[in-house]
Symmetry: none
Subunit: 207 residues, 4 copies
DNA sequence: CATGAATGAGAGTTCATTCAT
DNA sequence: AATGAATGAACTCTCATTCAT
């Protein structure tokens, strides 16, 4: 296994593709989908323009691949948390922490993605073809569904009010996003997670 | 003479500029700032390309004008609410209702605007010039500031916990937005406002 | 005669047209033919856009009219000089003075005109239709022809060498133009005329 | 291998960029800066619109590049002449010949350039940005400065009158230009150079 | 006559994508 | 597989001209 990695060929093959993805991550995050240009990506990736189209069919699919590759480890961790045997209230805080970590790293890219998947109705209203958009929607169904599952467990455990878990999960999700985008989250992610979960769970009205 | 004005006159007097704004509203909302083209706007407004540039200096200022004209009545109502003499807890619910109404109408446009004002640092990271972005930011300072003021009043009235009112206001704002974007809000805006305010104030954990 | 002038109608009629010509003079001189816009002309003339097209068939004819109106008094004076009974050498200096005065006033406009009449061959190579261009060329034939006539008189009077009078006239003309454009001419137009005529007549080589 | 390069290689290597410059030369010369369109240039260059912008940042810089590339060999020859050890009077005639040759080839383009660098004061009075205009002015400072230097040498050698060399150089320059523009120069450039220098040096008045 | 809102042809420029090397 | 020169469709914006009032 080692000798394969050390052979320059395989090393470089993975590298070119990865360099492009890394560069695309930076440029898409900074500029958004439309203002990001392939020229800027290849400049940052230090590669040729044609190379991009060897690995990715077009700009759109490059973006999609980026999203999926960045998401995979986060999704894995989240699913693991859902499956864990723990009180739901504690899982909520841990989930918030996972989301905060993820968005602290990838928030800008996700903001771009979320902006692009709007306009589902019209054929060419978005840069994404009809089939692609559903794949992005699946991401929300999976991750926010995980949050909802935790809340559902809490209801079963009678530590959480009997509410609409999907709406609540989306609400929690949106608060996390806003905290990140407004740069309210500093180095103390754990503390922020605690505070966010606390307000979410117990409200801000005086008891 | 009056009835003549009302038949064709009033129709035509307000027409061109308003038609363009109406068309721009639809196209910007559906396509976002960059994918919206002047050609599509004029097709919808049933006017010539030059006419747009008679009324608006460029695409950006058309967008800005749109935002400000749509926002004005909402802002007025919000400020009136803040100034009213009422318990803060009730004001919160009324404010949520105002926001829900506003975003049910203009949510897509605001999503576009919010996407464009990101990337404040870089020069060309957004379609908006540096000076303009601050004007959009002011909108947030004003409206979310109003929410924060209501919460602050609640703290003074000892009906709301002593929390970071700005963060909390942003949190409430983001939840409202998400409810709208996820189409969780139907015809019963009042009911939704009640539910949202309830969860925000009292949390979802069982007491 | 006076009462006609004072009647507002006739006064204003002449005025509108003249205001437009005055404004056109300023704008064409400053911006050149293409960069001059009708909008800027009407702003300076304080009139409506349609009014321009009431008096002039289009931008091109406005320009042409301007040239001809500005030229008339100069041409008259020049023709008078040619016809005068005077030694040719003195006429040369006086003609130089006339040209200097004229171009000190209208040099920019003439530069613009001279630039526009190029590209005689191609149909649409210039902004001017084929027929129009010849009219401009006539101006040169008339005015430089006058200079040539003076030189020809000088040859007859044996005070000027037997040279190609047309070429020499164009040469003198070009020197005058250059003096004006390079702003080598100050308030002392007479002195400058003397110097220019002196070098033209006697050369700059040491005798 | 070499002959292959010479058949297609050398043709194609220099091709696109040079074709564009060649086409731009023709179109700018014929139409002037503003009436010249990129569409016409690419039609003549038989290339795509984007290709122009691969080689030149914009229309203005294409024009500037054209001017500089056309000027380089002429300037080199002129500077060599100035530095040569020869009587100034002979240098004058040789310089006139150089200028005649140059303007016989590039006169139309230079006329366009000269027209564009006017209106130095106003911001948008010309198609050229403020900083660029100075670069064009430098061309005059260099080339007419070279003429003036020759005249200055003549004064030192006591073969030329003590006159304002800069004004005189501009005068000579303008005469050359006019000869070319009026198509007074035919195939016998040497003869024309002799005549022009003769009149410039010794005047046209009878001794 | 005087007006100026409306117009659209046409300008310069950008950028995702292709393909010969 | 890697490249980047070549491309042209699509974009925003300008401005001379018209015409209903």
């Amino acid at each position: 296994m080692n000798y394969i990695r050390e052979s320059t060929g395989s090393e470089d093959l993975r590298t070119k593709r990865q360099h492009i993805l890394d560069a695309a991550y930076v440029v898409f995050s900074r500029k958004g989908y439309h203002r990001a240009t392939v020229d800027e990506i290849i400049a940052l990736a230090d590669t040729g323009k044609g190379t991009v189209y060897n690995y990715f069919v077009n700009k759109e699919q490059l973006f999609y691949t980026l999203i999926m590759e960045k998401s995979a480890p986060f999704e894995a961790a989240l699913m693991q948390l859902v499956a864990a045997k723990e009180p739901a209230l504690e899982k909520v805080e841990k989930a918030v922490k996972l989301f905060l970590h993820f968005f602290m790293e990838n928030g800008d890219l996700w903001r771009v993605m979320m902006h692009e998947i709007r306009g589902l109705s019209c054929e060419k209203a978005s840069g994404l073809k009809e089939g692609q958009k559903e794949k992005y929607q699946d991401w929300f169904n999976r991750t926010i569904g995980a949050l909802a599952q935790i809340l559902q467990d809490g209801i079963a455990q009678e530590t959480i009010r009997d509410c609409d878990v999907t709406k609540s999960a989306y609400g929690l999700f949106s608060v996390i996003l806003m905290m990140v985008f407004q740069k309210f989250v500093g180095d103390d992610i754990s503390g922020m997670a605690h505070m966010t979960a606390d307000i979410f769970l117990y409200g801000i009205a005086k008891k």
